[in-house]
Symmetry: D4
Amino acid sequence: MTTSFEYNRLNKDDAAVLMVDHQAGLISLVQDYPPNEFKNNVLALADIAKFFNLPTILTTSFEQGPNGPIVPELKEMFPDAPYIARPGQINAWDNDDFVAAVKATGKKQLIIAGIVTDVCVAFVALSAIEAGFDVFVVTDASGTFDETVRAAAWERMSAAGVQLLNWFAVACELHRDWRNDIEGLGNLLSNHIPLYRGLMTSYFARAGQ
Amino acid sequence: MTTSFEYNRLNKDDAAVLMVDHQAGLISLVQDYPPNEFKNNVLALADIAKFFNLPTILTTSFEQGPNGPIVPELKEMFPDAPYIARPGQINAWDNDDFVAAVKATGKKQLIIAGIVTDVCVAFVALSAIEAGFDVFVVTDASGTFDETVRAAAWERMSAAGVQLLNWFAVACELHRDWRNDIEGLGNLLSNHIPLYRGLMTSYFARAGQ
Amino acid sequence: MTTSFEYNRLNKDDAAVLMVDHQAGLISLVQDYPPNEFKNNVLALADIAKFFNLPTILTTSFEQGPNGPIVPELKEMFPDAPYIARPGQINAWDNDDFVAAVKATGKKQLIIAGIVTDVCVAFVALSAIEAGFDVFVVTDASGTFDETVRAAAWERMSAAGVQLLNWFAVACELHRDWRNDIEGLGNLLSNHIPLYRGLMTSYFARAGQ
Amino acid sequence: MTTSFEYNRLNKDDAAVLMVDHQAGLISLVQDYPPNEFKNNVLALADIAKFFNLPTILTTSFEQGPNGPIVPELKEMFPDAPYIARPGQINAWDNDDFVAAVKATGKKQLIIAGIVTDVCVAFVALSAIEAGFDVFVVTDASGTFDETVRAAAWERMSAAGVQLLNWFAVACELHRDWRNDIEGLGNLLSNHIPLYRGLMTSYFARAGQ
Amino acid sequence: MTTSFEYNRLNKDDAAVLMVDHQAGLISLVQDYPPNEFKNNVLALADIAKFFNLPTILTTSFEQGPNGPIVPELKEMFPDAPYIARPGQINAWDNDDFVAAVKATGKKQLIIAGIVTDVCVAFVALSAIEAGFDVFVVTDASGTFDETVRAAAWERMSAAGVQLLNWFAVACELHRDWRNDIEGLGNLLSNHIPLYRGLMTSYFARAGQ
Amino acid sequence: MTTSFEYNRLNKDDAAVLMVDHQAGLISLVQDYPPNEFKNNVLALADIAKFFNLPTILTTSFEQGPNGPIVPELKEMFPDAPYIARPGQINAWDNDDFVAAVKATGKKQLIIAGIVTDVCVAFVALSAIEAGFDVFVVTDASGTFDETVRAAAWERMSAAGVQLLNWFAVACELHRDWRNDIEGLGNLLSNHIPLYRGLMTSYFARAGQ
Amino acid sequence: MTTSFEYNRLNKDDAAVLMVDHQAGLISLVQDYPPNEFKNNVLALADIAKFFNLPTILTTSFEQGPNGPIVPELKEMFPDAPYIARPGQINAWDNDDFVAAVKATGKKQLIIAGIVTDVCVAFVALSAIEAGFDVFVVTDASGTFDETVRAAAWERMSAAGVQLLNWFAVACELHRDWRNDIEGLGNLLSNHIPLYRGLMTSYFARAGQ
Amino acid sequence: MTTSFEYNRLNKDDAAVLMVDHQAGLISLVQDYPPNEFKNNVLALADIAKFFNLPTILTTSFEQGPNGPIVPELKEMFPDAPYIARPGQINAWDNDDFVAAVKATGKKQLIIAGIVTDVCVAFVALSAIEAGFDVFVVTDASGTFDETVRAAAWERMSAAGVQLLNWFAVACELHRDWRNDIEGLGNLLSNHIPLYRGLMTSYFARAGQ
């Protein structure tokens, strides 16, 4: 059963990041993660995109309406990223500009996160798989109404061949080796994992003695 | 592994809705969702069926006995829908009238919800898959004894090729584009997602200033 | 220890209802109840106030700002109720108009609910106790950030002599005897407790046979 | 602070049991215990009442309506107990026949359980405390809508001086000493605590070798 | 993907039941179900086996040692069933007598439950799948250390083609049609589902009026 | 309200430890803590008693029967401690030898833990409070059937003036100052708190460089 | 019972903040809050102390050892605050310098948070109550091993007259009226409550249109 | 669907154990198991490796930095095992020495555990599957940030053909038959399963009478 398995792992030279509908209004719908944990996860993924210089695409749905504008931090971090404010398509893959922007990156691996997991993320992920891309959904930078909804969305995506990873696994799979940039990865982890920050604080306090 | 995946997504022109055994007595068995959440989910799915004009079929099991009559709201919303009061078959697919009604819709995609998930829903879903239909079970408009029972039922259905979606994903996958009817979808969401209603209330309060 | 206990129970002739800061924006902060459960609880309390003709006072905090307008259902149900849009006081009891409105009811028992439990509810409740009122906080029509915050707020209020009741207990303690209005109470319960609605549906289906 | 504490413990010669509104319809409202656990707890309390020959009073609310008849097991176990089918009073203590039956027992300690905890149990318990009785509410033979409702009801009762005990503690506090009837208590525990039954099965299997 | 799915459903003429290691000592290891719920589930499955006259096989592991004797109820219910007290094999399928007993039933569908899920159940289930049987594991009549252990065991079995069903689904899938024996199935459900018993009690109380 | 509070804190010169019914059979009833956590908590309390040379009393209930013998570790750690194998009294305080042993310690502060919390612990604790002792129940070295039972038992004890502390708080309140024995307390914490052991391992690894 | 209640509420002119043992090593022991939620809570309390110019005292336990240095953010935010590195006292109130620093603030209300809740917080809180201070423990800026340990610590403190508040309630009770500094409080909430930030982002986006 | 399933079960003659990054610092990141449960699980797996004489390989990541040294117990138990302190590779399979050590064992079945599950375990497991090994991940001797992260990691590994087992299942699947060493397996279980120890204590107490 496992004879022909190929480990399709993230490669920083062949990956792009899609941030789908992280909007100020929609964020109030997210109840499957504690609020500050979710905020931290989204910003950690954004930091990963910056750290590895991955092409990044932002998209929003109806941002003039109740869904609200994109969360300001993302707009500030990626001022030059393709930004597709969709006029109506719920599945971003139904928007030609979005697909064109994805294809323009020339990357085969798509790292996707968004709000809400079962719609904005799942629809794009399934379409991208169908289109032949390798899809990695960042589980904890995607949020939805509750844990049961999330479980069904995961099941649907996993059955289609989507790989499910948390942002920490994304960072580590892209980095491969601490020696590629010890301080860079260390800072990223310290900023987003309080317990790791604690380890580093104690370590450097002693190292400095 | 993912090379040949085809995203079989809901299409409002090719979908029918099956409401299985949402009966006044059986509803007391549902303990895997808080009661008002479950009621809301079932009515949301009914509203979806109406909004997209999907052919809808109602069926009940032993409605003269302890299982009780169909919940009145469904009967009122679909006065002209095929209504199959099964004399004894537990699996609705074992009832010829029910299968005939399904086939009479001429649709290939079946959206199924019911009580209880592990029996009334799962049996129909597995039979329908076997009969060549594409089956989409609405996870949160289906209820059962507890979360562990639900998890096993999901596993069994998913292994057979059933797609598991919450009602919100069903609505969005059918609608495709907000511009098809902004107000219609907006109302539907506002009526069934209190947090979305909050967003809309604030939005229109300001828009009206 | 229990020798001198006096059961201070709700009396429909001596009770008023205070709805504090149920606003469209603030409602997105409530994460200690599932959204439709919370919406149902708030509307159930409003129905109780109407059913028993209890004087009811509405108040909001900063409704022109991010907190948003009062939830429309409450405004519609109580068009003639005193409505105090506070210009800045976080504790409604610090607003003279609000206290005057409370005192104008001439009632000694105050039934209080609001958003968020630990601030908008707790502050008013503690002030009202201090002012000599009997205070009954409606636990499930009040919401806040999470269950741990709620637990601490309950502890603080209970230690001060606040009585904690869910809306169902409020309705039953006010009603005293089904014979005062069987159909009225039955409808109220049927509208807000799906499982009770199920019991009634089965009952009347059989009674009608 | 603890200088004057008097341990008011259950005494089989001075205790009566009140079973309040364990009715076939109302039982469907109980969601704070798994169904078979709750059934077992109620029957365990009934067995305790029998085992210690405690005067026992049954009462129901509106048993001809949706609330349904008393659960048959209780009626069968206590064929000669006072049985007060209340015509309308929600608080059983508001029914003169019920209070008379309680007083007729001549006992000062009242062991109370019922459905639902926040109304049928709490109201009676608070009234009984006010009337000068010592009240022991059997926590796990009383059920209600969810754990949050239960927590508030416990808080209200505890603040009034009610003692909260599970049925196992009731049995042990009444029995005092195994030697009063080793086999009797052993059977009771074996019938209602599967893990204790396991211990006894293993024990006697070896003792019999 | 779903084109060739065959719904392999339980057939009372082609099914046997294997009860694996439900022993008085081992039962104390089960912590993934509340104790009375688990006891009820095991006895419900036993009643199903009796009701449908399914060949049933009992087996134990080291019953003279700490694992303890088989729970007495099972021994009493199946006095003539093959009973294989294994001298040491952990996987019952490694015991020739057990396999011979299974094959002697002449059935192709095996309904398996036991303690603990991850060992006594999973090992037999995987061996039976390998041997060409159709395997249905009764999820809630099998118990283990905690929910995380259970989840991994389910995943391992499901990946091998085992179907996971709760006892209620087993009963319903075997029965097919209420008309095969309305009273029989009704009694079975009434004895093991307190909420269903409540429905029946109310129903017959009214029917009898 | 708080004007006259006196902080009655643990004093190693005035405290005794009572270990009540930690027996091999009864331990299988404990389901409110994960098994290894509970085992660790009980042994941590035993280590505290040894470390501070506190007089310690062991007692058991019916140890020849299904309740089983005392857990061997406790017997080995306190070979010379008073050991009262009660012939039948459920409340150890009803046993004269036990009370005599407690009084013989000459201590006023009693640190109590046992199985199960709601009976073996609560009964002794309430009796000891009544007898004028200061009682400190070690919450996490006491176990019972489930968390709801525990919550009621805590409420009952707290209302009587019992102080509730986890073993870590007991150790720290007794020790007062690390300088009394840095290594001793460090070892105790390292042996029973894996995360603290991790801190110490990292610390000393670096200190040793 | 409630006749003489005085609402002792926080007053920014009479309050000081005590930050107890928020150290890099100890923070790894905190498991009763998700890590980023806890970090946010501690920093929110620190921001409150700054915003209201409350005298603030920092203290640590054994910071040269495994407990590790104070978390750097606190040291940076309060460079001039009294900083008491305790040489060994577990209860900071046993350290004369600490008590002197507290008294030097001249404040009667003490707002206390720390790690771990059951020791470093509870011991100080109980000592301060005994010394006649009004004590407000910030529940969510204090952390410990698990939720059960926290519950016992809350109970012990509440019984002694400690008031339990989350940081949001602390901020609101100190601020009293939004008009005292709308932008200041708004920024504080926006920085620490992601859902409130969402409300503000949407609000200002529209206000700016 | 199940026709060609081959039960690839653990074989003590063809299995090796890989312990990946169980380091004193990283252990503080593990929050998906209670601390003493996790510690027990890791040591149980180590005992299994010793008991069956399985070749065992230890590896660490950056042990001189914040991740900290390997937990001392593992180093002590396997003084002669290959020990690969990786200079930077996050995925141990990217380290040639590690892969060489694995291949040198000559075993085809790899039993893998480590910290954290989603990175240190999952990456190695996926690489090993790709390399043609049979991979068995020990679920409960592997830990990570929270249960949601764990669930995604399990899903990813299971989809690749990894088998997920708890340590108890590993022990039992390797042992096959109690008679291979009754006392040995008994001791192992007694040391790591407190409830099993209880069974054995009671058993031998009676056997010794």
